[in-house]
Amino acid sequence: MIQAIPLRHRRLLGSAGLYVAVAAYVVFALFPIFWTFKISVTPTALLYTQGATLWPGRTTVQNYVAVLLTTDFPRFFLNSVLVSGATALVVTVLASAAGYALSRFRFRGKQAVAFLLLLTQTFPLVMVIPPIYRIMGSLHLTNSLSGLVIIYVAFNIPFATFLMQTFCDGVPRDLEDAVLIDGGTRLQALTRVILPLTLPGMMATIGFVFTAAWSELLFALMLIDDPSRMTFAVGLLSFIGKFDVDWGQMMAASMLGLVPACLFFLLLQRYLVEGLSAGAVKG
């Protein structure tokens, strides 16, 4: 039946279907964010009376002005950028090394290492918080951004290591051997073959870890009391008062919180979009 339709038309039909599917998903992905935006520009008086409408009768930027000028949010953003950036960098370096080891070497205890990585993921966070708090306390790392970075690094290492392992597995061993046979060192094999070919994977890892750290709440809440060291996610909770919630400002701060994450992804885009073929390395 399909054969009856000429190839050109089939292509056209296929790309039309593709666009519809992509558009549907984009709407699904954006709608809650649009709603957050809508709440952030809705005057408090209209919040409930025009709650279910798609766009309020009147809009205001007052919530954004208030968040930027009267709250500590600029400080929280800066803290979050520092913590997430440092976490992403450290995790990607450590996990790339560990993933490379798991991918390229056979050694005793490899299974045990993989099992350990897996095991640490299976316990709900809430149960490890009290012991972690005590350990960090004895190292004088509570109430500090570096303490937070260390915890985030630990939490993100297992996944990042597994991910980098699969990306290293995908690199043909011959390419690496070729460098070694030509008299190159392992370091050269690493920088000429493994690094460029696993770059998309590394960029994906950096992106994930950055956002995971960016949006983490539980540990940031438990570990930090000092307002000057709070992160963005914890800052959001400050809009929840004893008796009511300042929805407008909270949603405005949330929208602002998406900006650094967006910028970060735009920076990574290039590596994910381009992709690399094996040909690029052989040349």
């Binding site: 450590l94 350990l116 095991l119 299976t122 260390i150 915890i151």
Partner: protein, 305 residues
């Protein structure tokens, strides 16, 4: 196997060389492992030790397997286990299928691809409690649009909150979780697709392989290791992920959205018995490890390398 220069002219040779060879992978692994053991594994062991104690306001006492015995006769836990399977399977299946589809689409060239790619990432950057709040808002008939749409297309006789309906409530957090988790699969699978050498596709196309054949013989085998590891980790994360449910329904109505993970939160914070919460967490740990082992075994069978 090794190039000629590996032979040591001093002759002190073999022992030192084999030591270096055994040490090399550990050298690369050790920074990651040290942090992991100190920050996660030690607390994990301490957390497990809580499960043999009973906690009251100011002190705790050793009760052996007492907490585990209590667990055997806890009807709420049985329901939570069933809900956990439901919550995990529902979230995972949709996240994976949408994520894979989207990754395949984004791997092709089309106008506006880079914009779509940037948008696709966005939900992952939203803090989970905020995602929960926003979705709860969307499902609310007074201040959200979804019940009005359901009413308009005739799925509801009047705009009602599905989060208040014990038969449907679980779908609320599941939908929020699908929204939140699709980017994870999209990006990891897209990165894996990007590392498939393009010349393999060209060769297959020259050999006259159809799109479907290329998908089954090239794309799937190349993606399989990434799929295996992401599905496994994601299952574990979803099963232990309580934030969305906690914010959206608090486990209600009538325990209908109570999963093992939310039950642990409730036991630890509201009921204040850290010991019982830890015992339930150990049960979850065993179930998830068993699941992972089954998955790894299956992967070995399917992928003979």
């Amino acid at each position: 196997m090794r190039p000629a220069f590996a032979r040591n002219p001093l002759g002190s040779g073999f022992a030192a060389r084999s030591l270096r060879r055994t040490a090399e992978p550990w050298l690369y692994l050790s920074p990651a492992l040290v942090i992991l053991v100190l920050v996660l594994f030690v607390p994990l062991v301490i957390g497990i030790s809580y499960s043999f104690r009973r906690f009251t306001a100011f002190r705790s006492s050793y009760v052996g397997l007492g907490q585990y015995r209590t667990m055997l006769h806890d009807p709420a836990l049985g329901q939570a286990l069933i809900n956990t399977v439901w919550w995990t399977a529902g979230s995972l299946a949709f996240q994976f299928l949408l994520g894979l589809g989207l990754a395949l689409v984004l791997n092709r060239r089309f106008a506006g691809r880079s914009v779509v790619q940037a948008i696709v990432f966005l939900p992952w950057a939203v803090p989970s409690f905020l995602a929960g709040l926003t979705w709860a808002w969307l499902f609310n008939p007074v201040i959200g649009p979804i019940p009005h749409w359901l009413y308009a297309v005739g799925l509801q006789s009047q705009p009602r909150n599905i989060l208040a309906n014990p038969h449907l409530a679980m779908w609320g957090p599941i939908i929020a979780n699908i929204w939140f988790g699709v980017p994870f699969f999209t990006i990891t699978l897209l990165a894996a697709l990007k590392s498939i050498p393009a010349d393999l596709y060209e060769a297959a196309a020259l050999d006259g392989a159809t799109v479907w054949q290329r998908f089954m013989r090239l794309t799937v085998p190349f993606l399989a290791p990434t799929i295996a590891i992401t599905v496994m980790l994601r299952t574990i994360w979803i099963a232990t992920f309580a934030d969305l449910i906690f914010v959206m329904t608090g486990g209600g109505p009538a325990g209908s959205t109570n999963t093992v993970a939310t039950y642990i939160y409730v036991s630890a914070f509201r009921a204040m018995d850290k010991g019982y919460a830890a015992a339930v967490a150990v049960l979850l740990l065993f179930l998830l490890v068993a699941y992972a082992l089954v998955l790894i075994g299956m992967r070995r069978r399917l992928l003979p390398q």
